[in-house]
Symmetry: C2
Subunit: 156 residues, 2 copies
Protein backbone atom coordinates (compact mmCIF):
# COMPACT_ATOMS: atom_id res chain seq x y z
CA UNK A 1 0.00 0.00 0.00
CA UNK A 2 2.95 2.34 0.24
CA UNK A 3 3.44 3.34 -3.35
CA UNK A 4 4.47 6.88 -2.55
CA UNK A 5 5.09 9.09 0.42
CA UNK A 6 1.88 10.20 2.12
CA UNK A 7 1.06 13.86 1.79
CA UNK A 8 1.87 15.65 5.06
CA UNK A 9 -1.06 17.06 6.94
CA UNK A 10 0.18 20.61 6.55
CA UNK A 11 0.00 20.27 2.81
CA UNK A 12 -3.50 18.91 2.92
CA UNK A 13 -4.49 21.84 5.07
CA UNK A 14 -3.05 24.15 2.49
CA UNK A 15 -4.99 22.37 -0.25
CA UNK A 16 -8.17 22.80 1.72
CA UNK A 17 -7.49 26.49 2.37
CA UNK A 18 -6.84 27.03 -1.30
CA UNK A 19 -10.07 25.31 -2.24
CA UNK A 20 -11.96 27.43 0.25
CA UNK A 21 -10.41 30.56 -1.18
CA UNK A 22 -11.04 29.58 -4.77
CA UNK A 23 -14.67 28.73 -4.15
CA UNK A 24 -15.24 31.77 -1.92
CA UNK A 25 -16.13 29.62 1.00
CA UNK A 26 -15.20 30.55 4.54
CA UNK A 27 -12.74 29.24 7.07
CA UNK A 28 -14.47 28.23 10.26
CA UNK A 29 -13.32 26.63 13.44
CA UNK A 30 -15.69 23.75 12.86
CA UNK A 31 -13.93 22.96 9.61
CA UNK A 32 -10.57 23.10 11.34
CA UNK A 33 -11.69 20.85 14.14
CA UNK A 34 -13.21 18.31 11.76
CA UNK A 35 -10.13 18.45 9.58
CA UNK A 36 -7.91 17.61 12.53
CA UNK A 37 -10.11 14.84 13.76
CA UNK A 38 -10.61 13.28 10.34
CA UNK A 39 -6.96 13.23 9.34
CA UNK A 40 -5.91 11.87 12.72
CA UNK A 41 -8.71 9.35 13.03
CA UNK A 42 -7.23 6.00 14.02
CA UNK A 43 -9.52 3.63 12.09
CA UNK A 44 -9.96 3.46 8.34
CA UNK A 45 -13.21 4.16 6.53
CA UNK A 46 -15.05 6.16 9.15
CA UNK A 47 -18.77 6.89 8.93
CA UNK A 48 -20.24 10.35 9.52
CA UNK A 49 -21.84 9.06 12.69
CA UNK A 50 -18.57 7.66 14.04
CA UNK A 51 -16.64 10.84 13.40
CA UNK A 52 -19.47 12.91 14.84
CA UNK A 53 -19.51 10.86 18.06
CA UNK A 54 -15.75 11.24 18.41
CA UNK A 55 -15.92 14.97 17.83
CA UNK A 56 -18.75 15.53 20.28
CA UNK A 57 -16.56 14.42 23.17
CA UNK A 58 -14.34 17.47 22.82
CA UNK A 59 -16.87 19.70 21.09
CA UNK A 60 -20.36 19.01 22.42
CA UNK A 61 -21.91 21.79 20.36
CA UNK A 62 -20.88 20.54 16.97
CA UNK A 63 -23.73 19.42 14.74
CA UNK A 64 -24.11 16.22 12.79
CA UNK A 65 -25.02 18.17 9.67
CA UNK A 66 -21.79 20.09 9.87
CA UNK A 67 -19.74 16.91 10.03
CA UNK A 68 -21.76 15.49 7.16
CA UNK A 69 -21.27 18.61 5.06
CA UNK A 70 -17.59 18.92 5.89
CA UNK A 71 -16.80 15.37 4.84
CA UNK A 72 -18.55 16.07 1.56
CA UNK A 73 -16.39 19.15 1.22
CA UNK A 74 -13.25 17.11 1.76
CA UNK A 75 -14.42 14.76 -0.93
CA UNK A 76 -15.19 17.63 -3.31
CA UNK A 77 -11.73 19.09 -3.02
CA UNK A 78 -10.04 15.74 -3.49
CA UNK A 79 -8.88 15.22 0.09
CA UNK A 80 -11.17 12.27 0.83
CA UNK A 81 -12.76 9.27 -0.81
CA UNK A 82 -16.32 8.30 -0.14
CA UNK A 83 -16.81 4.54 0.03
CA UNK A 84 -19.81 2.29 0.09
CA UNK A 85 -19.24 -1.25 1.17
CA UNK A 86 -22.85 -2.31 1.02
CA UNK A 87 -23.88 -1.86 4.63
CA UNK A 88 -25.96 1.17 3.77
CA UNK A 89 -23.73 3.83 5.29
CA UNK A 90 -21.23 6.00 3.50
CA UNK A 91 -17.67 5.83 4.74
CA UNK A 92 -14.87 8.30 4.26
CA UNK A 93 -11.14 7.92 4.16
CA UNK A 94 -8.31 10.40 3.58
CA UNK A 95 -6.64 10.41 0.19
CA UNK A 96 -3.14 9.50 1.22
CA UNK A 97 -1.31 11.05 -1.71
CA UNK A 98 -2.17 12.88 -4.88
CA UNK A 99 -3.66 10.66 -7.56
CA UNK A 100 -3.87 7.72 -5.22
CA UNK A 101 -6.11 4.79 -6.01
CA UNK A 102 -6.64 1.60 -4.13
CA UNK A 103 -9.21 -1.15 -3.83
CA UNK A 104 -10.58 -3.32 -1.04
CA UNK A 105 -10.84 -6.82 0.28
CA UNK A 106 -13.82 -6.93 2.61
CA UNK A 107 -14.34 -9.65 5.19
CA UNK A 108 -18.02 -10.50 5.51
CA UNK A 109 -17.21 -12.31 8.75
CA UNK A 110 -15.61 -9.63 10.89
CA UNK A 111 -15.74 -6.54 8.71
CA UNK A 112 -11.99 -6.30 8.35
CA UNK A 113 -10.92 -4.37 5.30
CA UNK A 114 -7.63 -4.83 3.54
CA UNK A 115 -6.48 -2.35 0.95
CA UNK A 116 -4.56 -3.20 -2.15
CA UNK A 117 -3.47 -1.78 -5.45
CA UNK A 118 -2.77 -3.97 -8.43
CA UNK A 119 -1.33 -2.48 -11.56
CA UNK A 120 -2.29 -5.44 -13.69
CA UNK A 121 -5.90 -5.11 -12.79
CA UNK A 122 -5.83 -1.40 -13.51
CA UNK A 123 -4.20 -2.14 -16.82
CA UNK A 124 -6.77 -4.71 -17.92
CA UNK A 125 -9.55 -2.44 -16.78
CA UNK A 126 -8.24 0.26 -19.06
CA UNK A 127 -8.15 -2.32 -21.82
CA UNK A 128 -11.78 -3.24 -21.29
CA UNK A 129 -12.72 0.44 -21.32
CA UNK A 130 -10.89 1.13 -24.56
CA UNK A 131 -12.44 -1.93 -26.14
CA UNK A 132 -15.85 -0.50 -25.36
CA UNK A 133 -14.95 3.02 -26.36
CA UNK A 134 -15.45 4.21 -22.81
CA UNK A 135 -13.61 7.02 -21.08
CA UNK A 136 -13.20 5.72 -17.54
CA UNK A 137 -12.86 8.31 -14.79
CA UNK A 138 -12.72 6.00 -11.83
CA UNK A 139 -13.41 2.47 -10.83
CA UNK A 140 -14.20 0.33 -7.89
CA UNK A 141 -13.06 -3.21 -7.23
CA UNK A 142 -14.27 -4.97 -4.13
CA UNK A 143 -13.47 -8.56 -3.20
CA UNK A 144 -15.88 -9.97 -0.63
CA UNK A 145 -15.09 -13.04 1.40
CA UNK A 146 -13.47 -14.28 4.57
CA UNK A 147 -10.20 -13.15 6.04
CA UNK A 148 -7.76 -15.71 7.42
CA UNK A 149 -9.02 -15.56 10.99
CA UNK A 150 -12.63 -15.84 9.91
CA UNK A 151 -11.90 -18.73 7.56
CA UNK A 152 -10.25 -20.65 10.39
CA UNK A 153 -13.09 -20.29 12.84
CA UNK A 154 -15.76 -21.23 10.35
CA UNK A 155 -17.85 -24.40 9.94
CA UNK A 156 -16.97 -25.84 6.56
Amino acid sequence: MLLSKATPKSERKKALDEYILKKRLKSTKQRDIIFDEFFNYPGQHVTVEELYEKLKKQNPKIGYATVYRTLKLFKECGLAFERNFGDGRARYEPVKFEGEHHDHLICIGCGRIIEFANLRIEQYSRGVAKLNDFEVLNHKLELYGYCSSCTRGRDK
Copy 2:
Protein backbone atom coordinates in the same frame (compact mmCIF):
# COMPACT_ATOMS: atom_id res chain seq x y z
CA MET B 1 -20.88 -11.52 -23.00
CA LEU B 2 -21.87 -14.86 -24.48
CA LEU B 3 -19.56 -17.26 -22.69
CA SER B 4 -22.11 -20.04 -22.51
CA LYS B 5 -25.63 -20.78 -23.59
CA ALA B 6 -28.22 -18.94 -21.52
CA THR B 7 -30.33 -21.14 -19.29
CA PRO B 8 -33.79 -21.57 -20.85
CA LYS B 9 -36.65 -20.07 -18.97
CA SER B 10 -38.25 -23.45 -18.38
CA GLU B 11 -35.18 -24.59 -16.52
CA ARG B 12 -35.11 -21.51 -14.36
CA LYS B 13 -38.72 -22.10 -13.52
CA LYS B 14 -37.84 -25.61 -12.47
CA ALA B 15 -35.02 -24.27 -10.30
CA LEU B 16 -37.43 -21.90 -8.62
CA ASP B 17 -40.00 -24.62 -8.05
CA GLU B 18 -37.35 -26.85 -6.54
CA TYR B 19 -36.21 -24.08 -4.22
CA ILE B 20 -39.80 -23.46 -3.17
CA LEU B 21 -40.26 -27.12 -2.45
CA LYS B 22 -37.00 -27.48 -0.57
CA LYS B 23 -37.68 -24.47 1.61
CA ARG B 24 -41.33 -25.39 2.17
CA LEU B 25 -42.49 -22.19 0.55
CA LYS B 26 -45.62 -22.00 -1.54
CA SER B 27 -46.33 -21.63 -5.22
CA THR B 28 -48.52 -18.62 -5.85
CA LYS B 29 -49.81 -16.94 -8.93
CA GLN B 30 -48.08 -13.71 -7.93
CA ARG B 31 -44.75 -15.48 -7.99
CA ASP B 32 -45.52 -16.92 -11.40
CA ILE B 33 -46.55 -13.56 -12.78
CA ILE B 34 -43.49 -11.82 -11.41
CA PHE B 35 -41.28 -14.61 -12.67
CA ASP B 36 -42.62 -14.18 -16.19
CA GLU B 37 -42.32 -10.43 -16.14
CA PHE B 38 -38.84 -10.40 -14.67
CA PHE B 39 -37.34 -12.93 -17.04
CA ASN B 40 -38.94 -11.26 -20.04
CA TYR B 41 -38.18 -7.71 -18.98
CA PRO B 42 -36.68 -5.86 -21.93
CA GLY B 43 -34.18 -3.62 -20.09
CA GLN B 44 -31.27 -4.75 -17.94
CA HIS B 45 -30.91 -3.98 -14.27
CA VAL B 46 -34.48 -3.25 -13.33
CA THR B 47 -35.45 -1.62 -10.05
CA VAL B 48 -38.26 -2.94 -7.87
CA GLU B 49 -40.25 0.17 -8.68
CA GLU B 50 -39.83 -0.25 -12.43
CA LEU B 51 -40.88 -3.88 -12.41
CA TYR B 52 -43.77 -3.06 -10.12
CA GLU B 53 -45.03 -0.33 -12.47
CA LYS B 54 -44.82 -2.69 -15.41
CA LEU B 55 -46.65 -5.44 -13.57
CA LYS B 56 -49.43 -3.17 -12.38
CA LYS B 57 -50.58 -2.55 -15.94
CA GLN B 58 -51.71 -6.13 -16.33
CA ASN B 59 -52.22 -6.90 -12.63
CA PRO B 60 -53.51 -3.81 -10.85
CA LYS B 61 -53.90 -5.66 -7.56
CA ILE B 62 -50.30 -6.74 -7.16
CA GLY B 63 -48.46 -5.16 -4.24
CA TYR B 64 -45.12 -3.45 -4.23
CA ALA B 65 -44.03 -5.50 -1.22
CA THR B 66 -44.72 -8.69 -3.12
CA VAL B 67 -42.54 -7.63 -6.02
CA TYR B 68 -39.85 -6.58 -3.56
CA ARG B 69 -39.98 -9.88 -1.72
CA THR B 70 -40.12 -11.95 -4.85
CA LEU B 71 -37.03 -10.35 -6.33
CA LYS B 72 -35.24 -11.11 -3.07
CA LEU B 73 -36.43 -14.67 -3.40
CA PHE B 74 -35.01 -14.90 -6.93
CA LYS B 75 -31.73 -13.63 -5.59
CA GLU B 76 -31.76 -16.11 -2.70
CA CYS B 77 -32.20 -19.07 -4.97
CA GLY B 78 -29.51 -17.94 -7.36
CA LEU B 79 -31.73 -16.84 -10.23
CA ALA B 80 -30.96 -13.14 -9.95
CA PHE B 81 -28.20 -10.73 -9.06
CA GLU B 82 -28.82 -7.69 -6.97
CA ARG B 83 -26.77 -4.70 -8.10
CA ASN B 84 -26.04 -1.32 -6.64
CA PHE B 85 -24.66 1.25 -8.98
CA GLY B 86 -24.56 4.06 -6.50
CA ASP B 87 -27.82 5.78 -7.28
CA GLY B 88 -29.39 4.57 -4.06
CA ARG B 89 -31.73 1.99 -5.56
CA ALA B 90 -31.18 -1.72 -5.79
CA ARG B 91 -31.36 -3.21 -9.24
CA TYR B 92 -31.95 -6.79 -10.26
CA GLU B 93 -30.94 -8.79 -13.27
CA PRO B 94 -31.43 -12.42 -14.24
CA VAL B 95 -28.50 -14.78 -13.88
CA LYS B 96 -28.08 -15.82 -17.48
CA PHE B 97 -26.37 -19.12 -16.83
CA GLU B 98 -25.19 -21.14 -13.89
CA GLY B 99 -22.05 -19.78 -12.27
CA GLU B 100 -22.12 -16.66 -14.39
CA HIS B 101 -20.18 -13.60 -13.38
CA HIS B 102 -19.84 -10.31 -15.13
CA ASP B 103 -18.92 -6.72 -14.34
CA HIS B 104 -20.05 -3.32 -15.49
CA LEU B 105 -19.04 -0.17 -17.30
CA ILE B 106 -21.36 2.58 -16.16
CA CYS B 107 -21.84 5.83 -18.06
CA ILE B 108 -22.28 8.72 -15.67
CA GLY B 109 -23.55 10.78 -18.57
CA CYS B 110 -26.53 8.81 -19.86
CA GLY B 111 -26.71 5.86 -17.49
CA ARG B 112 -25.84 3.32 -20.15
CA ILE B 113 -24.43 0.13 -18.76
CA ILE B 114 -22.15 -2.20 -20.64
CA GLU B 115 -21.39 -5.64 -19.30
CA PHE B 116 -18.11 -7.42 -19.60
CA ALA B 117 -16.18 -10.37 -18.28
CA ASN B 118 -12.43 -10.43 -18.22
CA LEU B 119 -10.62 -13.57 -17.25
CA ARG B 120 -7.35 -11.75 -16.58
CA ILE B 121 -8.95 -9.46 -14.09
CA GLU B 122 -10.56 -12.41 -12.35
CA GLN B 123 -7.23 -14.15 -12.28
CA TYR B 124 -5.34 -11.24 -10.75
CA SER B 125 -8.11 -10.71 -8.24
CA ARG B 126 -7.65 -14.28 -7.09
CA GLY B 127 -3.96 -13.59 -6.82
CA VAL B 128 -4.52 -10.58 -4.63
CA ALA B 129 -6.86 -12.59 -2.44
CA LYS B 130 -4.38 -15.41 -2.04
CA LEU B 131 -1.63 -12.96 -1.22
CA ASN B 132 -3.74 -11.63 1.62
CA ASP B 133 -4.88 -15.02 2.78
CA PHE B 134 -8.45 -14.19 1.91
CA GLU B 135 -11.13 -16.59 0.73
CA VAL B 136 -13.04 -14.55 -1.83
CA LEU B 137 -16.66 -15.49 -2.43
CA ASN B 138 -17.59 -12.79 -4.88
CA HIS B 139 -16.41 -9.54 -6.23
CA LYS B 140 -17.57 -6.41 -7.90
CA LEU B 141 -15.77 -4.35 -10.49
CA GLU B 142 -17.35 -1.18 -11.74
CA LEU B 143 -15.80 1.23 -14.20
CA TYR B 144 -17.40 4.66 -14.14
CA GLY B 145 -17.00 7.15 -16.93
CA TYR B 146 -18.45 8.30 -20.22
CA CYS B 147 -19.63 6.15 -23.08
CA SER B 148 -18.69 7.04 -26.64
CA SER B 149 -21.80 9.08 -27.35
CA CYS B 150 -21.49 11.00 -24.10
CA THR B 151 -17.80 11.68 -24.65
CA ARG B 152 -18.57 13.16 -28.06
CA GLY B 153 -21.25 15.53 -26.89
CA ARG B 154 -19.25 16.80 -23.96
CA ASP B 155 -17.42 20.07 -23.39
CA LYS B 156 -13.83 18.94 -22.98
